[in-house]
């Protein structure tokens, strides 16, 4: 447990270790006050419930490990952008990044050109994508950290600007070529070496992009001084300054990080779509709002200073699997419509539960 950096409320640790309290009541308190625990429980409930329905034979397809695994392909961009939002929101001062979707579109197009048309090597194109994403993020960072724009406004502006640029530079046509077609292999499902035979096929992106990102972000937040500075300035910007933390570069860094992750997601998306779409991150509801939803569902406090990597990972798993489950349960248009309901209800239920019970257990 990282009470040190990550406890949203004085609840668990603040309470003196009373002898009398039974295991149950402490488990209950954890469930009610800690989002990560709640998410784990919800995921378990979902899996159990669906397996029962499956056994009862009311599903239109078998609910098995393969399906869950194949559904993870949409978890990759979601979780990665969720992690980007985690860092940005943690940094406080109303930190938020509405421009991630547009950055995905823009960097995706640039990557498409480099890799698909200019015949760059994958590595070179990847580096370019990271750079472009980093620059887009840096622009957000400068606006927010150095000029003092409220993040929501700065990134709302760049959301409009970047998405428009993506369309302009690509002449609003998906960038495409045989090379990019084959690049789909980077998103395909693969059998793990050694133990693979006994496991379902898992989308490659999980290993090539998601898990590395998870590990790096987790290490950054929990094991590095940067993480500490981040939690510090997210909790109290002034106090951070008086503690000798250079808040501006650190705050800027998280927006750059968000841009870089968006760059990586762009590459993932190009692989998944087997083409570089100038609206990849903005079509439909876009990627920004879902990623923010993932973050808040994962227990990130919108006011900054509170949030955990595990929360992001778990909330992504929950959402992705709920959606997949609904498709097997409800045929026709109902399925996709009820996905909206499920997302809304889960989000509100989880936040309300923790929000209200935090009071009972002595809140912030």
């Amino acid at each position: 447990m990282t009470a040190t950096t990550e406890h949203p409320s004085p609840a668990a640790p603040a309470a003196p270790p009373e002898k009398g309290r039974g295991l149950f009541s402490r488990a209950l308190e954890a469930l009610l006050t800690q989002r990560v625990v709640l998410l784990v429980v919800l995921i378990v409930l979902l899996l159990v419930g669906m397996s029962i329905l499956d056994a009862a034979g009311v599903l239109s397809g078998s609910f098995n490990a393969d399906y869950l695994a194949s559904a993870l392909i949409s978890a990759v961009p979601l979780a990665m952008l969720g992690l980007a939002q985690l860092m940005v929101i943690l940094s406080g001062r109303g930190g938020i990044d509405l421009s991630v979707g547009s950055m995905v579109s823009l960097t995706g197009v640039v990557f498409g050109f480099a890799y698909g048309l200019w015949g760059w090597s994958l590595i070179a194109a990847l580096v370019l994508a990271i750079l472009v994403g980093g620059v887009c993020g840096a622009i957000n960072g400068v606006l927010v950290a150095y000029i003092g724009f409220p993040p929501l406004i700065a990134t709302l502006a760049t959301y409009y600007a970047y998405r428009s640029l993506a369309l302009v530079v690509s002449d609003q046509k998906p960038v495409n070529s045989p090379v990019i077609q084959d690049f789909y292999s980077a998103a395909q499902s693969v059998e793990l070496p050694l133990i693979g035979g006994s496991l379902p096929l898992i989308p490659l992106g999980i290993f090539t992009f998601l898990i590395p990102t998870i590990v790096i972000v987790w290490l950054l937040l929990n094991k590095t001084t940067f993480g500490r500075r981040l939690y510090a300035l997210g909790t109290n910007n002034v106090a951070a300054t008086w503690s000798g933390i250079n808040v501006k570069p650190n705050r800027m860094a998280v927006y750059i990080a968000s841009g870089v992750i968006s760059g990586l997601v762009a590459v993932v998306t190009v692989a998944q779509f087997a083409s570089a779409r100038p609206d990849a991150g903005t079509s439909g509801n876009g990627m920004a709002l879902p990623s923010i939803t993932i973050a808040v569902l994962g227990g990130v406090a919108i006011t900054g200073g509170i949030g955990r990597v595990a929360g992001i990972v778990l909330s992504t798993l929950l959402i992705v699997w709920i959606n997949a489950s609904i498709l097997l349960t409800l045929p026709g248009n109902d399925g996709t419509q009820f996905q909206l309901l499920a997302l809304g209800v889960v989000l509100i239920f989880a936040s309300l539960l923790n929000g209200l019970t935090r009071r009972k257990y002595g809140g912030i």
Binding site: L98, G148, L340, G355
Partner: protein, 338 residues
């Protein structure tokens, strides 16, 4: 401590009275007026017909619903909240109202009442959850946005609403829809903006919204009924969304499809922040919001009328947000420095 024991001469008092009054218009608003005037002049020069009635009228018609919802959103953002569910709420109000126009051929007042009533209901739902749920507004409204969308899709029933009668034409279609050549939807918006401006500036209810946004804890300790006021702000926005939904139907075709309302939340928020309302709460103005909405619409239709690629419009919207808010920031810096 009674009010009557005056320690000072009357004129001095009146002078202070004027000084402690909040300013009628902010510098931000003046800047916006300037920018808009310049743009209109330029567009007037470089396009064949931007300043013609045939161009300005539709512009005002598209501004009206955004500015109208913007009034509510300004109230909300002043209390340091936000509502990203307005898109979904518009969708739900619009489809329910349009369907009942088609199915029951409702009379105008009934239809308006229905739409506003439904919107109010949705706003109340948001308000209750936010004021009493101890959860940040953006989270709740992300949730309700999805739920409203779901409900709207159920009402649509996998189809569009066809053959909507012209009941709402009075809001701005044809001669019947105008007074002095100005579309009624815009006139209504102007009136509501004016009332909201007066309320925010001159009533304790209005001033308390600023207090809540500035420091909710302190507001509670000062004896302000914080939660009911927050609830009211969301309810108001809901009601305005209901009215705006009528405007959307009025301005639309005889067919209503699922795209109605989608993405409008960002358009409204953009208008509000361009108008100089601080997203951090405690500072804001409805006049600025109206100007912000006009600016955005001017840019988008200006780009098309100039014959530039329409996908450039968003780029300019982004740039204008930066410029508008940037100048605001710089002027505050300057004020702090002096």
């Amino acid at each position: 401590m009674s009010v009557d024991e005056r320690g000072v001469s009357a004129p001095a008092v009146r002078a202070t009275a004027r000084r402690i009054l909040p300013p009628p218009v902010t510098g931000q608003e003046l800047v916006l007026v300037g920018v808009i005037v310049v743009l209109w002049v330029l567009l007037g020069l470089f396009t064949p017909a931007f300043l013609s009635a045939g161009s300005i009228r539709p512009l005002l018609v598209s501004v009206a619903p955004i500015a109208l919802i913007g009034v509510g959103m300004t109230f909300i953002i002043i209390t340091a909240g936000i509502d990203v569910s307005v898109g979904g709420a518009i969708m739900l109000c619009a489809v329910v109202t349009a369907k009942s126009l088609v199915d029951f051929d409702l009379a105008l007042p009934l239809a308006i009442a229905l739409s506003i009533g439904l919107g109010l209901l949705l706003g109340l739902l948001n308000g209750v959850l936010i004021a009493y749920g101890r959860v940040h507004a953006i989270i709740i409204t992300f949730g309700t946005a999805n739920i409203f969308q779901f409900l709207a899709l159920r009402v649509f029933g996998s189809s569009t609403v066809n053959g909507i009668p012209g009941t709402f034409d009075v809001f701005g279609r044809g001669e019947a829809g105008r007074t002095f050549g100005v579309p009624h939807s815009f006139l209504i918006t102007i009136v509501i903006v004016a009332v909201a401006w007066w309320y925010l500036r001159h009533t304790s209810g209005g001033r308390n919204l600023f207090a809540i946004g500035g420091n909710a804890q302190a507001a509670r300790l000062a004896g302000i009924a914080v939660q009911p006021r927050i609830l009211a702000a969301y309810a108001l926005t809901g009601a305005l969304v209901g009215l705006a939904a009528c405007f959307f139907i009025a301005a639309g075709t005889s067919t209503l499809d699922q795209a109605v309302g989608s993405g409008r939340e960002l358009a409204v928020i953009a208008a509000v922040v361009i108008g100089g309302t601080s997203i951090l709460g405690g500072r804001g103005s409805v006049i600025g919001t109206l100007l912000g909405a006009i600016l955005v619409q001017t840019v988008t239709s200006g780009v098309t009328q100039l014959g530039w690629p329409s996908q450039l419009a968003n780029l300019f919207v982004g740039v204008f947000i930066i410029i508008a808010v940037g100048t605001d920031l710089l002027r505050q810096r300057a004020r702090k420095a002096s």
